[in-house]
Each structure stands twice: as C-alpha cells, then as structure tokens.
Symmetry: C2
Subunit: 225 residues, 2 copies
DNA sequence: ATATATTTGCGTATAAAATACACATAATGA
DNA sequence: TCATTATGTGTATTTTATACGCAAATATAT
C-alpha cells in the first residue's frame, strides 16, 4: 500500500445576524487555486493542534475575528474536491453579530467580507455545498434549541427577538402565540425600562435570564414555532 | 511551517438489533497498539477513495460484512487520541440485523464479534467515547425518523415493531397509543395472514409500505413516542 | 371439556398544546 | 386633534398527546 498523502483542513461557516439580515463571512483568496475567488475561511490543520484550535486559528488569521464556540458541521472528503490533491475538510459553523467584530484580512486572504445570504458570490471548491448544508443545519437548530442570547443587545424589545426568529426561519410567525411561548419558557426577564424608536407605542425592554437560557440549551428543548 | 503529518482514518459503529437486544460489532485488534484489545472496526483512508468507500471497505475487510448505508457521525481529532501519532478519524454509524450477516475477521482483526450494548469490553483508543456519542445519536434519530424497515422481517406482527421501539428507546411505551400513531402514519400495510407464536391470540401480519416509509424518512417527521 | 394464562386488538374520555384571530394602548408626526 | 404606527394582550377552537380497561383468540394445564 502506498503511503497516505491526504491533507486535512478545516473550514468555518460563520453566519452573522443583524436586524433582519443574515450574512456569511467570506474571504477572497490571495493564492491559487481559485485566486481572487471568494471562499469560506479555513486552512490546513497543524500537527499538534486540535481541530477546534485549528478552525479558530484559521478564522482569526484570515478574517481577524475570534470565535470561541464553533460547532462541528460535517466532514467533506470527496477525492476531487480540491484541484491541488486530496484534501479532506472538517467544516464548522457558528452564528454571531457581525458588528461585534472588526474584520480584517490577512495571510491567505486578500479581503474578508460579510455577504448577505441571498446575494452570494460564486464560491471556490465545494464551498457552495458546504454553505448549503450549514444553512439547513442552522434552520434545524433553531427549532430545538433557543437562539438569541448571543445575537441581540443585552436589553432588547420583544420585537427584536421576533424579527430574529422570522429572519432565521424565513417565514412569518404569529406574534401573540410566539410571545406566549417564549414567556412560558421563563427565559426572559422583563425590565423596568422602555424604548421608543420612532413612531408607535414604546416597547418594554427584556434581557435573557442567562441561567435559564443555558439550562434550556442543555436540555435541548423542542421548540415548535 | 512543518509539513503536515496527520493520518486520516474512518471508523464504523455498527449497531445490531434483534428481538429486544441491541448489540454493536467490534473487532479484536491483531497488531499494536492495543493488540488483543477490542475496537470499533475501521482503518486508514486510501488516497483515492471517498470517505464512504473507505469506511465500507474497512468494515468489510475486518468483519466480512457489507453495509451500503452508513451515516456520518462525527470527526474525532484530539491530537493524543492515537499513541502512534496524530490520527484524525471520521466516524460513521449504521443499524442492521446481525443475523442477516455472516461475520468473519480478517486483515487487522483477529476476531469480530457482536457485543450486547450493556456488556461491552474495554475499548481501544477513544472508542468508548465514539460509541457513547453514537448511542446518543441513535436514540435521537429514532424520534425524528421512522426506523424499522431494515430491522424487521418482511412480514411482522405489530408487537415486533413495538419491541423494537421499546428496546431502542430503553423505556416502555403505551401499546395502544403507539399503534394508533403508527397506523395514523399510513406506513404499514395490513396483510391477510396471521401468525401464532406460542400462547395468546394470533397476530395479524403487517409489512412496511416502502414508498410511504421512505417518503416519511425524507420529510423527517417529528415522532414523539 | 373446561378453566386458566397469555397475547392481541381496539375505543373513549381527558388533558395539554398549537393555532387562529381582533382590538385597545401609547407613542409620533402631520 | 387626527391619522399613523408599533406594541401589548385574551379567548375560543382545533389538534395532538395521554391515560386507561376489557373483550377476543389462542395455547396449556387440569
């Protein structure tokens, strides 16, 4: 048997959510193959780092952002997925607030940029497939796990949470029933403050009850919106 | 940067279900490390085969069984998981009827054997962790996807299906409500035959309606038993 | 042959959850 | 002060899940 000559890489699909928009962080490749094309950030795993360390490092090197929790998505190993030779890639994904990060390209990336999920450029390698699988997973995830804590302001009106869900689910939900459900989970603490943005009745501000929130995440609620 | 020297392997967690027992297929390692110890079947990926080809090949080589659908489970990449050096392993899992296969050990395996899931031997590498994750996944899977077609006889009494579920879930279910639910899914065709095994009223035989069954699998029903 | 044990087959009542739906309130701006 | 806009709330209906018990058809023991 010939010696194994397979390279191992990691890729990070980082979604950004903000005010009704979902975006994904891409880099423009500085070197061949696919030089000048957009791609999901990622790169080769070093010999002595864990996969998680690798994906966080690559993401940081190429885009300047540092994310401490990325979830493993899937491993892509089609023998012809990389023109340079056999490369198997372990894809991770995460969801963040784009404005919480200053992005700047470096190392293998000529540029790093958020793209609206509906206006994606052509992607390198099999990255379009990876992204499609990540989107599916994101949609599934939201129905069995509470999401939001990391994506909203510390204090937020209920409508922000509602918008988050309609955006991620890609469809309308009944405002009253949604509120009842969330309130029933006891995951929100009502504050004494109100916020008024433009016309309309001012909204009460809420914050997440961290303890309860992480407890729910752990339990893995089923959350039929 | 040093050249990457990471090896890539695949592992197959194959569960067997039969008459109220869940087992898992293990091999006894012929060579060091962990020589003589039990392990999940698996091995290194060849340069030109896909990951799925690799895992099916290794499983066949080591245990003699040929399974065409294994689902990707998770990728394990802890730098110290293998004493020989850095080995990243992509684990797959599947569920079969043990008696449908003739197992025989070869290549790296000194022996291949089904173990009851409650009477597992000590395992090599991080295989215990892999197995635990596979078990969790199996339990989750059964609640959002119909399972059974591949695990029961072509014609079977309802009680066989019931036993399958109680076994995989590890708890009792209400016989009447379970039957109502399954019948409501229209996934079974009632036959004109009956079967009598020992004492008790003879049972009507059913078969799965293949078309409907695979449609449900595809749709991904949520199936609160 | 009769009684007993065993397994299958089935229906109904109750509780819980999901859904559908409309109007009052508190602000802004013309 | 009137129109507009966004927020906040309750109730009725439908659907789904759960709880629960008894009759039918067979084998086995007496």
């Amino acid at each position: 048997m010939n010696k194994q000559s397979i390279k191992l890489s990691v890729d990070a699909v980082v979604f950004g959510y903000e005010e009704g928009n979902i975006s994904v962080l891409l880099i423009k490749r500085k070197y061949a193959p696919y030089k000048g094309k957009w791609a999901i950030p990622g790169g080769f795993v070093l010999n002595n780092e864990s996969l998680e360390e690798a994906v966080e490092r690559e993401l940081h090197e190429e885009t300047g952002i540092k994310i401490s929790y990325l979830e493993q998505l899937y491993t892509f190993g089609n023998p012809s997925r990389d023109p340079r030779g056999r490369v198997v890639s372990i894809a991770y994904f995460g969801l963040v607030r784009p404005n919480a990060f200053q992005i700047f390209a470096s190392t293998d990336a000529e540029q790093a940029q958020w793209f609206d999920i509906k206006e994606l450029p052509e992607l390198s390698f099999d990255h379009r497939e990876i992204l499609d699988i990540a989107i599916k997973r994101l949609q599934g995830k939201i129905t069995y796990e509470p999401i939001g804590f990391e994506l909203l302001d510390k204090k937020f009106p209920f409508s922000d949470l509602e918008k988050l869900y309609t955006t991620l689910l890609g469809r309308d939900i009944d405002r009253r029933n949604f509120r009842k459900k969330i309130v029933g989970l006891n995951v929100l603490d009502e504050l004494d403050e109100k916020i008024s943005k433009g016309s309309g009745r001012p909204a009460i501000l809420f914050k997440f009850n961290q303890k309860r929130y992480f407890q729910l995440k752990k339990e893995g609620i089923i959350f039929e919106i």
